[in-house]
């Protein structure tokens, strides 16, 4: 009874260790191929278009409402103590440090990471990856490298837009909500005073790490796909779950070490 328990635990642990090792190996290979990036400029730009331009409207809409709800929630509480002028600082700092990068990261993981896993997974299942290998083209260079670079560059850009829109949304609510009633100029001054370039840089650095996680997980899960249409479906789910998990874990450690 106990033996079986330990055997199951052991084999699960081994699986996790093997998965981590494979992910690390793939990451090293992908980074090795960064030197070939200029050659694959077209496919990097194509991926940046998919990740950036196509995701921008929904990312801005999401962060607009995040900023607005933040403003309503904290503003009405602050108004009880008559300190609602601080709302600019609160919305600004939380958008830049946490909500902007994390919310956008989760959105991109759901929208792009899953699509990547499904696309590469389908290529794996339908022998296209094998075909690439017989054409002597490295699948890592041809598929993973452009996606990882595109994610690393595009997610911070998306987050920058998201932060601006979120702060704007918060400001509008602070002005129009009768309970808060903070003029936009006051909100803006307060927000500017609270933010420094360093904070913004840290927020964008987080976004870049999240982008890397999304791109890498999408490609890794895609390459590991097997078992037909059902396998592709499972890969899609798995990539979203793993990206969410890794983003949350990375967020804690990044925050802890950047304080």
């Amino acid at each position: 009874m106990f033996m079986r328990f330990f055997a199951t635990m052991g084999s699960k642990l081994l699986n996790v260790a093997q998965g981590l090792g494979e992910m690390l190996a793939l990451l090293c290979q992908t980074i090795y191929y960064f030197k070939e990036a200029p050659r694959n400029l077209t496919s990097i730009l194509r991926q940046m278009n998919i990740i950036g331009v196509d995701t921008l409207p929904i990312a801005m809409l999401v962060s607009l409402f995040v900023g607005m709800v933040l403003s309503v929630q904290t503003g009405t509480e602050l108004a009880l103590y008559g300190t609602q002028e601080a709302i600019g600082a609160i919305v600004g700092v939380s958008m830049v440090k946490e909500l902007g990068p994390v919310m956008t990261g989760l959105l991109v993981a759901g929208r792009i990471g899953s699509a990547m896993a499904a696309e590469i997974g389908a290529m794996q299942v339908y022998e296209e990856i094998d075909a690439l290998k017989t054409l002597e083209i490295s699948p890592v260079r041809y598929l993973a490298m452009p996606r990882l670079i595109a994610c690393l560059l595009t997610v911070p850009a998306l987050v920058a837009f998201a932060i601006v829109v979120g702060i704007f949304g918060g400001g509008v609510i602070a002005e129009v909500n009768p309970k808060i009633n903070v003029p936009f100029s006051v909100y803006y001054d307060n927000m500017i005073r609270a933010l420094s370039y360093k904070e913004i840089f840290k927020g964008l650095l987080k976004a870049m790490v999240f982008g890397g996680i999304i791109g890498h997980v999408g490609c890794y899960i895609g390459f590991k796909t097997s078992g037909g249409a059902r396998g592709i479906g499972e890969s899609t789910t798995r990539s979203v779950v793993l990206s969410f998990l890794l983003i949350m874990v990375a967020n804690y450690f990044l925050t802890r070490f950047m304080i």
């Binding site: 400029l41 075909a131 290998k133």
Partner: protein, 299 residues
């Protein structure tokens, strides 16, 4: 289809037969620096010469399932060699070993006396190219027909861009798909996909070409066309061809020699005539079936 539709379609085809391709494809591949390198190709691209293959005591297992059992085969340079046998006997797996998509548990495969399992560095120096036509065609969905055919040339920077476009045109013409460069792969029928896959393989100017179940999804007429393409290739280009198929008549019609696999083992090797006359019960059982066997002769 109305007249104006027809005109539009004809116009489209005329445009796409332009060797420079459409504006967009020129723009996309203009990023490739190959465009400035002019009309020449890398040395050795044009010439292909058949290779010999020597397979020695090859074994492969998946868990308890011993799929390939002590395979020994010798294939001569320039030969058209077919491997026939029922589904699930390891024919396709054997092909995947030859092109290094799978690693053997024991035994070795020599192509022109180079061991294929040796490290990349040694393989980089080898003097032959191989390509494989997959059962599912395995075309890249995100690319057009022309881009699929030219992928290897562009990625490896074998030729200048203008030359690449001409090669794409030539290879598509060879498989009877002239002027279809700009079509999406999703617009193609099963037989056309297969022919594009063959054109993609030919664009490598290979010394060894492997077909995995080339007739699996084709109707009899298209199978005949495919056979003609393979035969005309053999006449024009000196290459070694390996065909894996359970389509008995197709294999017997095309091949110089045929090997029969059964249950992970090679049970018979010989010319098509020798195979037809074989007294081996396993071979007779396979070739004299009712619906797909060869006609007459005790069927």
């Amino acid at each position: 289809m109305t007249d104006s539709d027809k005109k539009a379609k004809n116009g489209h085809l005329q445009n796409s037969s332009n060797p420079r391709g459409t504006f967009w494809s020129q723009l996309a591949h203009g990023f490739s620096p190959a465009i400035v390198e002019g009309d020449s190709c890398q040395v050795g691209y044009e010439s292909s010469s058949g290779v010999s293959i020597h397979i020695e005591n090859l074994n492969k297992s998946f868990g308890d399932n011993h799929v390939l059992k002590n395979i020994n085969l010798d294939i001569e340079p320039g030969e058209t060699f077919s491997i026939i046998g029922p589904s699930g006997t390891g024919k396709s797996l054997l092909l995947k070993h030859i092109v290094k998509l799978e690693n053997a548990d024991s035994g070795r495969i020599l192509i022109n006396d180079h061991d294929v399992s040796e490290t990349e560095a040694i393989n980089a120096k080898r003097s032959f190219r191989y390509s494989m036509v997959f059962q599912s065609s395995a075309l890249f969905n995100s690319l057009t027909v022309g881009e699929n055919v030219g992928l290897w040339l562009r990625e490896k920077r074998i030729c200048g861009e203008i030359r690449i476009r001409r090669i794409i045109q030539e290879k598509l013409q060879l498989v009877g798909l002239a002027g279809k460069q700009e079509l999406r792969t999703s617009e193609l029928s099963g037989g056309m996909k297969k022919r594009v896959a063959i054109a993609r393989s030919l664009a490598m100017s290979p010394d060894l070409i492997l077909y995995d179940e080339p007739t699996a999804e084709l109707d009899p007429v298209t199978s005949d066309e495919l056979a003609r393409v393979i035969i005309s290739l053999r006449e024009k280009v000196n290459l070694t061809t390996i065909i894996v198929s359970h389509d008995l008549n197709f294999a017997l019609y095309l091949s110089d020699r045929v090997a029969m696999m059964h249950d992970g083992e090679v049970v018979a090797i010989g010319t098509p005539d020798e195979i037809k006359k074989s007294q081996n019960p396993i071979v007779r059982n396979f070739i004299y079936t009712t619906t797909k066997g060869i006609q007459g002769e005790g069927g």
